[in-house]
C-alpha cells in the first residue's frame, strides 16, 4: 500500500460562477506533483463535468481527489435526488436539466458520457431520494 494524498472540496449548490474552482485547484496541485499535461487535462475535464452536475442537479456536494502513485481517484458525493435511470443518463445528449439551465449553456447531456470518456473507470452508486456517489479513476501507470 503506497502513500496517498487526499484533496477535499465542498462544491456549492446553485452557484455556476464558482463551479470549476475545485477542478482548477486540483489542476494546480497535480502540476505540482509533476503529472503529465495529458493526465491533468483528463482529470480536470472529468472533475469539472462532475462539479457542474452537482450544481445543476443536486444542490452541491463534496469532491475528494485521492492521488496515489498508481492512480488518481475522484469521488463526487451529493445528497441530491438520485438518478432515475443510469443507463439512460449515460447516453449522449440525454439530460433532465431545466430550460433555464440550458439557457445558461449547460445541460447538453454530455456530462456523464464525458466523465466516462476521460477516465479509465467510473462507477455510479445512486439511491433515489438520497443521493449519488460517482467514483472515477485515471490510471497513472
Amino acid at each position: 500500500m503506497s502513500d496517498s494524498l487526499v484533496f477535499h472540496f465542498d462544491v456549492d449548490g446553485d452557484n455556476f460562477t464558482s463551479a470549476g474552482q475545485a477542478s482548477t485547484q486540483v489542476k494546480k496541485n497535480l502540476r505540482q506533483l509533476g503529472l503529465s499535461p495529458a493526465i491533468i487535462r483528463r482529470v480536470s475535464i472529468a472533475m469539472y463535468e462532475g462539479e457542474i452536475n452537482m450544481v445543476i442537479h443536486a444542490n452541491g456536494g463534496t469532491a475528494d481527489v485521492v492521488v496515489t502513485e498508481e492512480y488518481i481517484e475522484i469521488v463526487l458525493e451529493d445528497r441530491g435526488p438520485g438518478i432515475q435511470n443510469v443507463e439512460q443518463a449515460m447516453q449522449e445528449g440525454f439530460s433532465t436539466a431545466t430550460d433555464s439551465i440550458r439557457s445558461l449553456g449547460f445541460g447538453a447531456g454530455m456530462g456523464l458520457p464525458n466523465m466516462k470518456r476521460y477516465t479509465d473507470s467510473m462507477s455510479i452508486d445512486t439511491v433515489i431520494g438520497e443521493g449519488t456517489t460517482i467514483t472515477m479513476r485515471v490510471n497513472l501507470a
Partner: protein, 416 residues
C-alpha cells in the same frame, strides 16, 4: 535556444523598493517574494506581463529597454510603430503626422506594424481554413500569452497558432523594402526599431522564440518615442500621405481587433491577465465555447493597455475609434494567387517547450510527501493571505517552507 537562460525585460531597482506587498499580490504567476526588505523576481516564473511595473507606487519595477540612440549604430534606420502609438496623441486626425514625425526624429523609413497586421489577418483567415488545425485556434500575437501557455497550460500548446506576430512580419518586409530601394546596403547596415507598448515584446526580441530568431534589432519604449515626437510633430504643415493601413490594421491595438479582422463571428476575445487565466482554465476544463478563434491580450484593453504607453488605455481606444472612422476597412488584401498558400515568412515552426515550473520534485513519491506537508502547514497558518511574510499567500508560504526557501517563523501572525 530553449535551454539557455531567458532574458527578462522587467527588473527591480532595489534602492527604490520599500518591500511593500503591492506587486507581490498582483503577480499572476506568483513569481515575486519579499525578503531582506525588498522584492525578488523569480526568472523562471516571470512572464514579462508588466503587472508589477503597473502596480508599483515607488517606480521600483522598470522595463529594461533600449533608448532611441541605440539606433545610431545603423546606417539605415527603420521605425516600426505599433498601432497603439497612434492612440497616444490628442486631436490627431491623421496617422501621417505620426509617420512624418518619425522621419523627422531621424528614421529613414517607417513601416507600419498595422500594415503587417492586415496581412497577418488575411493569412489568418486562410489558416482557419487549413485542414487539420486544432480548433479553437489561440492567437500567438501577445508574447505574454504564449509564454503563459508554455509554462502553465501545456495541454493547450497545440491550439496556439503558428503565425508570427505582425511586428516580425513588419520587420522582414521592411528589410526587404530597404534592400530593394537601396541595393548598396548590407544586412548589418539596416536597423529595425520596434516602438513598443510593452516590455514583453522586448523580451521576445531578445530571446527569440524556440528556434526562431527575431528580425527586430532594437525595441524602444513608446513613451520615449512619444516625447521625442511631440516636439517635432506639426499640425500646421501639410504632410504627404504615407499610411498603408486601414481599420483592420489599427484595430489590432485594442482587444478584439485581431479577432474581428477575421470577418467571422465565431471568436472569443479576452483581455487583462487575470481574465485571460480564467478563460484558459475554463478551456482546459473542457468548457470550450464553440468558437474557432481565441484572442487573448495580457493587458487590459489590449496593446493600448501596455505599461510603456503614455495614455490611459480607454482614452487611447476612443481616439483610435475616431482615427479609424474614415479609413477603408483594409489596405492590404491578398490576390487570388497569394491566397493559395501561406508564405514561410509568416510562420514559425516550434513553440517554446513546456517547463513544469511548479513541480515540487522530480520524483513523484517525494512530491506527494511534500504536498502532504504543504497541506499540514496550511492547516497551521492563519489563512488570511496578508503577505507580511513575503509570500503572496499562506499557501505560497507553505510551499516555500516545504521547498526550504522559507521558515514557519516567517509568518508574522503566528509569531504573536
Amino acid at each position: 535556444m530553449t535551454s539557455s537562460i531567458y532574458e527578462h525585460s522587467v527588473q527591480l531597482d532595489v534602492s527604490r523598493c520599500t518591500g511593500c506587498t503591492n506587486c507581490l499580490r498582483r503577480c499572476p504567476t506568483e513569481a515575486i517574494r519579499i525578503s531582506d526588505g525588498h522584492a525578488k523576481i523569480n526568472d523562471a516564473r516571470c512572464i514579462d506581463c508588466g503587472e508589477c511595473i503597473r502596480t508599483c507606487d515607488n517606480k521600483a519595477k522598470k522595463a529594461v529597454i533600449e533608448k532611441l540612440d541605440a539606433m545610431n549604430r545603423f546606417r539605415y534606420k527603420i521605425a516600426l510603430p505599433a498601432p497603439s502609438l497612434y492612440g497616444q496623441f490628442d486631436n490627431l486626425d491623421d496617422v501621417d503626422y505620426v509617420l512624418d514625425g518619425l522621419l523627422k526624429i531621424g528614421f529613414d523609413d517607417v513601416f507600419e506594424v498595422s500594415k503587417a497586421a492586415e496581412l497577418v489577418s488575411a493569412y489568418t483567415r486562410q489558416y482557419l481554413k487549413t485542414e487539420g488545425v486544432k480548433l479553437p485556434i489561440i492567437s500567438s500575437a501577445c508574447p505574454v500569452i504564449v509564454r503563459l501557455i508554455a509554462l502553465r497550460f501545456p495541454s493547450l500548446n497545440d491550439n496556439v497558432m503558428h503565425m508570427l506576430p505582425p511586428m516580425e512580419v513588419a520587420a522582414t518586409l521592411a528589410r526587404q523594402r530597404a534592400k530593394e530601394a537601396h541595393p548598396e546596403l548590407s544586412d548589418a547596415d539596416i536597423g529595425v526599431c520596434f516602438i513598443s507598448p510593452c516590455p514583453a515584446k522586448a523580451s521576445y526580441v531578445k530571446n527569440g522564440f524556440a528556434d526562431y530568431k527575431s528580425q527586430v534589432d532594437v525595441v524602444v519604449s513608446m513613451s520615449d518615442v512619444y516625447f521625442a515626437l511631440i516636439s517635432k510633430m506639426s499640425r500646421d504643415e501639410e504632410v504627404h500621405s504615407m499610411t498603408e493601413s486601414g481599420m483592420v490594421g489599427i484595430g489590432w491595438a485594442t482587444s478584439g481587433g485581431e479577432a474581428t479582422a477575421l470577418f467571422n463571428d465565431e471568436y472569443l476575445a479576452a483581455d487583462g491577465i487575470e481574465n485571460v487565466i480564467n478563460v484558459l482554465d475554463q478551456i482546459e476544463n473542457g468548457n470550450i465555447p464553440p468558437v474557432k478563434f481565441i484572442e487573448l491580450d495580457a493587458c487590459t484593453g489590449g496593446c493600448v493597455g501596455g505599461v510603456l504607453t503614455v495614455q490611459n488605455p480607454f482614452i487611447a481606444k476612443t481616439r483610435l475609434q475616431s482615427l479609424r472612422r474614415y479609413l477603408p476597412v483594409s489596405k492590404n488584401f491578398l490576390s487570388k494567387e497569394e491566397q493559395e498558400y501561406i508564405p514561410e515568412l509568416y510562420l514559425f515552426n516550434e513553440l517554446p517547450t513546456y517547463k513544469p515550473i511548479t513541480q515540487l520534485s522530480q520524483n513523484m513519491a517525494e512530491s506527494m510527501r511534500m504536498m502532504a506537508d504543504i497541506q499540514k502547514l496550511r492547516g497551521m497558518l492563519p489563512g488570511i493571505d496578508c503577505g507580511a511574510c513575503g509570500a503572496p499567500s499562506c499557501r505560497a508560504l507553505a510551499e516555500d517552507i516545504v521547498k526550504g526557501r522559507a521558515r514557519l517563523e516567517d509568518c508574522k501572525i503566528l509569531e504573536k
